[in-house]
């Protein structure tokens, strides 16, 4: 069987998975956690606790602030000390609930046994309710609320659930470790989502993780759920991008501005599947995740895969792992291709935190920009088939119409263009700006069209 891959662009960075042999360790609890109210895509959650309240592990502390939003639960037991803005990774103030840790008392409704529950509940609505009530969000990066993704709008039918175990970002190994250590739970989680969607499931894993492929295949075979299959993906970044994965597995492409469900696809990360398992089978809300501590010059004995509770400050985790290494010139949350540089190490972890990556000066310092030599490497690398050199020029010219015509808004910000540019032109920096401007124009146009339609309707009714 051939290895699957997406049809255009992509790059081959060294996968640098140095921490692959580090088993998942549970992180000791700090004295205080700060739980962010904005750890999912969409509206921030609204706190439902007050200062001075006692909370248990797994107790709801905030409710969704809109349709696309999620519940937030207390990751620790203790007393709510404050509900106040606190700086996030980038230094922007975000509402946080501060909880002083006292003991480790769990909500009694949560099943904390190690026993694996294989029987899948029949009631789809009850499953969705549980996923929603447990605050499960996509852990592949976008942290989109999972229950929304599992409820296709009327008229749309899911034809394939794609479980994303590509982990195409270099350095990251958290998904790899859970596929190795908790394959059965992931497979059961996938079966639960299959139940809700009523479609087959493909688990896609990149070829550079043969142990994970074997482990997941064994789990699928042992549990014997129907219509589930592990497929091997080529090692090629961004194989785990949602649009690229759909292309690779289903050979279908999502139209510009469309959603995966338009082509019958639902993509969920393996870590999300684990969270779904814990929510539905164990009643455990999403309060833990696995985070990789790694770096290009970090000795392997200082690298870790930690099971952490959300809300623990990054600085605490870094301290536990032995502090920031001397050679580190840049600290990144996430992978080296799409992660965000950490400007505030005191920021707390969130549901989607996946790593703290240290890069040394020589690996990460950008080189001075020189003239474009029109080599076309950026266009060859773009997995969306865009022409970054052209978008860069149009951005500098401020030509929004041409930017839209050349699909600047389709950019997925994967970084392949800048990664491969021999002239070190900050292509993605510019295209990101251009994309924002074009999206603004598109939204304004949609709003104006809507207003015009409503005005016409009102006028027609007035005539009657």
């Amino acid at each position: 069987m051939g290895k699957l891959t997406f049809s255009m662009g992509g790059v081959h960075p060294n996968d640098s998975k140095y921490s692959r042999e580090c088993a998942i360790e549970e992180l000791p609890l700090p004295q205080t956690v700060y739980v962010s109210m904005a750890q999912h895509l969409g509206a921030p959650a609204k706190p439902t606790v007050a200062v001075g309240d006692k909370v248990l592990v797994g107790q709801v502390i905030a409710e969704p602030g809109g349709f696309i939003s999620a519940f937030v639960h207390s990751p620790v037991s203790g007393t709510v000390k404050a509900i106040a803005p606190r700086k996030d990774l980038a230094g922007n103030p975000v509402m946080h609930v501060e909880i002083a840790v006292e003991g480790d008392e769990w909500d009694p409704a949560i099943d904390r046994s190690k026993e694996i529950v294989t029987a899948i509940p029949d009631d789809k609505a009850a499953i969705l309710d549980k996923i929603k009530a447990c605050g499960v969000v996509g852990l592949g990066g976008a942290t989109f609320p999972t229950h929304v993704k599992l409820s296709p709008p009327p008229g749309k039918v899911a034809e394939c659930l794609i479980l994303n175990g590509a982990e195409c970002e270099p350095f990251l190994t958290s998904d790899y470790r859970i596929m190795l250590e908790r394959p059965k739970e992931i497979v059961i989680g996938a079966a639960i989502m299959q139940k809700v969607l009523g479609c087959p499931c493909v688990i896609g894993i990149e070829e550079n993780k043969p142990e994970a492929i074997a482990s997941m295949r064994a789990a699928v075979a042992e549990l014997g759920y129907p219509n589930m299959e592990v497929k091997v993906l080529k090692k090629r970044y961004p194989q785990g991008g949602e649009k690229q994965l759909i292309d690779a597995v289903m050979h279908r492409q999502v139209k510009s501005g469309g959603l995966p469900i338009d082509v019958g696809a639902v993509v969920q990360n393996v870590a999300t599947s684990l969270a779904v398992y814990e929510a539905v089978q164990k009643n455990k809300p999403l309060i833990t995740n696995v985070l990789t501590i790694t770096g290009n010059k970090l000795p392997v004995n200082l690298q870790h895969n930690y099971l952490f509770r959300i809300g623990i400050p990054l600085s605490y985790i870094v301290e536990q792992a032995g502090g920031v290494p001397d050679q580190a010139a840049k600290l990144i949350s996430g992978g080296p291709m799409m992660g965000r540089a950490i400007s505030n190490l005191d920021a707390s972890t969130v549901k989607g935190s996946s790593s703290v990556l240290y890069l040394s000066e020589d690996a990460t310092r950008r080189k001075p920009e020189t003239n474009c030599i029109r080599c076309g490497k950026c266009a060859d690398a773009c997995p969306m088939g865009l022409e970054p050199f052209l978008l860069n020029r149009l951005y500098k010219a401020g030509d929004l119409d041409a930017l839209e015509a050349n699909a600047a808004q389709d950019c997925i910000e994967c970084g392949c263009c800048l990664f491969s540019c021999p002239a070190h032109i900050p292509l993605l920096d510019h295209i990101r700006q251009a994309k924002g401007q074009v999206m603004g124009v598109i939204r304004a146009r949609a709003a104006a069209a809507k207003a015009a339609a409503e005005a016409a309707k009102a006028a027609a009714e007035a005539k009657k």
Binding site: M8, I373, P383
Partner: protein
């Protein structure tokens, strides 16, 4: 955090390619052909190469620093590549001051006035060569071989096969007569159907090009289209009248066909960005080159074909784009 850390947007790593590393790859790829020609044409050839490269580098350095008041771009090695390509287009017996003029035209007329690397419309080395060809026709067609370090198997006639052929046809002989008279066969073309350094050995050029393909510096579409078109046209014409029109082998292995298709037409800056644009560009070069060879008064048309197709590149870039994800 007492120490200051870098904060910048993604991506945080780079493929470690640079303009310099790409140019270095091109220089390495040109080495086999250069070595062959220095061995064959000796010290004179070495001097032509040295003067050409040094002139290009010095002129680029001087103009960027003193006239354009910019940081020098000599470090990107593009001037070295221009110098090498220019030298490979010249006869080894050419006076060295003419080589300098060629370098001056390449760097100070074709390249820097447009804004330097990446901005030029025409291939600098070819512009330099064509300028010399129309200005110094006698010196540029003096193909008398200079003394080499090793003997060349077959005696070189003193004219390139292409120009010898033009003369032969003018004087009324047919192609088969010409071929027998000059004792040309396939082996001689792969090695010595010689003229300028770059035209000496198609085999050495091909080795260099394969290196560029392996290093993913260039893609094969443009050369395939140039050589494919030339092969197709010569096959048709040769098939119709073998007495007047030369065959496929002769056309692909003589003159600047290989050097032009493999190293000049694939110049990043002056070739189209999209694959389809490149295909049309390549076909255009092959077509024009063959029309000049068959019907023009010049024996060789590669340089003119490439320069003419250089003009079409902005248009081809405007018309043809990559296939985009999720868009018909």
């Amino acid at each position: 955090m007492d120490k200051k850390y870098i904060v910048s947007p993604n991506p945080h790593i780079h493929a470690n390619v640079s303009t310099t590393s790409i140019m270095l790859d091109v220089i390495i790829a040109l080495c086999p052909a250069l070595i062959v020609s220095v061995l064959a044409y000796g010290l004179a050839e070495l001097l032509v190469v040295a003067v050409s490269v040094l002139s290009c580098v010095l002129l680029e350095w001087a103009v960027t620093r003193w006239m354009m008041k910019r940081p020098s771009t000599v470090g990107d090695l593009s001037a070295v590549v221009t110098g090498l390509l220019l030298a490979m287009n010249l006869p080894s017996a050419i006076p060295l001051w003419i080589v300098f003029i060629g370098a001056f035209v390449a760097i100070c007329v074709a390249k820097l006035p447009f804004g330097g690397i990446g901005q030029n419309v025409f291939n600098p080395a070819i512009t330099g060569r064509v300028f010399l060809l129309v200005s110094f026709p006698a010196q540029m067609t003096n193909w008398q071989p200079t003394t080499g370090f090793i003997p060349i198997p077959d005696a070189i006639s003193g004219a390139t096969p292409l120009s010898a052929l033009k003369e032969a046809i003018k004087s009324g002989s047919t192609i088969p007569e010409f071929m027998t008279a000059h004792n040309y066969d396939l082996a001689s073309f792969l090695w010595d159907a010689g003229a300028s350094a770059g035209e000496l050995s198609a085999g050495a050029l091909l080795i260099g090009f394969v290196y560029l393909l392996i290093r993913r510096v260039v893609k094969p579409w443009i050369p395939i289209c140039v050589l494919g078109t030339m092969a197709l046209i010569s096959a048709i014409f040769h098939g119709i009248n073998p007495d007047v029109y030369t065959g496929v082998q002769f056309n692909l292995l003589t003159g600047g066909a290989m050097l032009g298709a493999l190293f000049m037409a694939t110049d990043y800056v002056t070739s189209p960005m999209s694959t389809l644009g490149g295909v049309i560009y390549g076909i255009g070069i092959g077509l024009i080159a063959m029309m000049i060879r068959y019907f023009g008064s010049y024996p060789e048309g590669m340089s003119f074909a490439i320069l003419l197709m250089n003009c079409t590149v902005p248009l081809l870039n405007m018309w043809f784009h990559q296939k985009k994800y999720g868009r018909a």
